[in-house]
Amino acid sequence: MRRTLPSLALLFAPFVSPAAQSLGERVAGSDGLTQVVFPSRPGVCGDGQSTIGNVLGRSNYYGGDVQFSGHGSWSDRPCVHGPARVVATVIGREVTRLRTYVGPVPAASADTRTITASASDASAWLSDIATRGTGRVASDAILPLVIADAPQPWPLLLRVARDDSRPRDVRRSALTWLANGVNDHLGIADTRDNTDEDEMRTQAVFVLSQRPKAESVPELIELARSSKHGSVRRSAIFWLGQTGDPRAVEVFAELLRQ
């Protein structure tokens, strides 16, 4: 009997349940398209095919692999709360592209595998791509991380933004999302320019952000920390995120602690 048990274990080894594999291994298990479906945060909505709304605040919308913001023709699209769906392109057992959708899940085409995952499993998989992936896919992983119904990704994004070994684009992308996260955290993501003066102040922030970094970054930091005008603060945080400057990361970390 003692001899039989190890043999049985060996016999069953190739048939280990797929659930025991990490989500990353399952996605990368075969080349082609795999869509991972997982719960999105409450309030996040989309049309299931292109637009995503209410990501952080009300007016941020993201379309598949195209990012855009504000109001316009995209805002006419239906916005239905539903699961997040990340379509991964796998080539040579490597994820090379991620496209993210929210809302009604369309019928998968014959060439697309579907994996239903928990938000925490999806988050772990996406975190791995954001922290270790190369190229555009690492940046692509951040949006679904933000919308997964899992713990906030800000600590992870702070790590990515501080990590000198990560590609510049990934760090910049992390910083942009951190700025959005900070504005959401401070409750000013939806602050609008209600008056003419607000509009001019927001323009002044933008104009100062276009000055040389040696001047603009300290100005933006000061405004991000302490402007009494919500629209100024929101705009300063946004443009600070666009600078890619390392000082911005520490300011964002500080503001996220408030």
């Binding site: 509009e199 001019m200 002044a204 922030v205 933008f206 104009v207 100062l208 276009q210 001047e215 100024v232």
Partner: protein
């Protein structure tokens, strides 16, 4: 006696030709192209590939993978004629036209006459032609063209391209900054007022900063005010930056 008569007639014809205005020489052509060449101002450059500019301190400049090397040459203008009307203007610095059968080449003309004529023509031709006519006048070695630029800027019936170009070259000329600031009062069009903010920002003088601040504070159109703020931000003038900072703390 006959030979004296012939000589007198010949002298009269020559003097008539010399006195004939450039406009009438162009107008004499019913259809085809009228070509002319005239001396360019010091610093005018072409690259033989259609680019033209006025040289700063650098001998060459580049954008992307293209390098622009200055070739100093006269200005060449081709005026398209159709049914006795001037319908197009093309301007080049350097190179040569490939003359066609219907072309009438006036040869080298006075740069002063050319500039005056082309600025006049810019009131009636449209689009790129107006643009080219104004540029040709600006490149001509013809002294101060600012009165002609101002007339064109104020002509509501002229094409917007030509008026914008005139505003640009007026800003680049020696036209006094105080007058340039005052010109704002006569600019009704949104496009011109927007362009004006850029033109004024290129004058790095106190009066220009004050003028732009005035636009940023008082223009009735918020978009123009924003544009003025943008150009203030691009200036290296402490007063401009202070103005922006003050907006944020009010």
């Amino acid at each position: 006696m006959r030979s004296v008569t012939w000589l007198a007639a010949s002298a009269l014809a020559t003097s008539q030709l010399a006195g004939q205005s450039l406009a009438s020489r162009v107008d004499a052509v019913r259809d085809g192209r009228v070509l002319m060449t005239f001396a360019s101002r010091p610093g005018v450059c072409g690259d033989d590939r259609g680019s033209m500019w006025i040289q700063g301190s650098r001998k060459s400049w580049s954008t992307g993978d293209r390098e622009f090397v200055c070739i100093r040459s006269p200005v060449r203008v081709a005026i398209g004629r159709a049914d006795k009307q001037s319908v197009s203007v093309r301007t080049r610095v350097g190179g040569r036209w490939s003359a066609g059968q219907g072309d009438v080449d006036l040869g080298e003309v006075s740069p002063t006459d050319a500039a005056e004529y082309l600025l006049g023509l810019a009131h009636t031709v449209g689009g790129n032609s107006a643009d080219d006519a104004v540029s040709a006048a600006a490149f001509a070695d013809a002294g101060d063209q600012s009165p002609g630029f101002v007339r064109l800027i104020r002509d509501d019936d002229a094409s917007m391209d030509g008026r914008k170009q005139a505003l640009f070259w007026l800003g680049q000329s020696d036209y006094p900054t105080a007058d340039l600031v005052r010109l704002r009062e006569s600019l009704k069009s949104h496009t011109l007022r927007e362009h004006y903010t850029f033109v004024l920002s290129q004058r790095h003088e106190d009066a220009a900063v004050d003028g732009l601040i005035d636009v940023a504070r008082h223009d009735s159109d918020p978009e123009i005010r924003k544009q003025a703020m943008f150009w203030l931000g691009q200036m290296k003038e402490p007063k401009a930056i202070k103005f922006l900072q003050d907006i944020l703390t009010r």
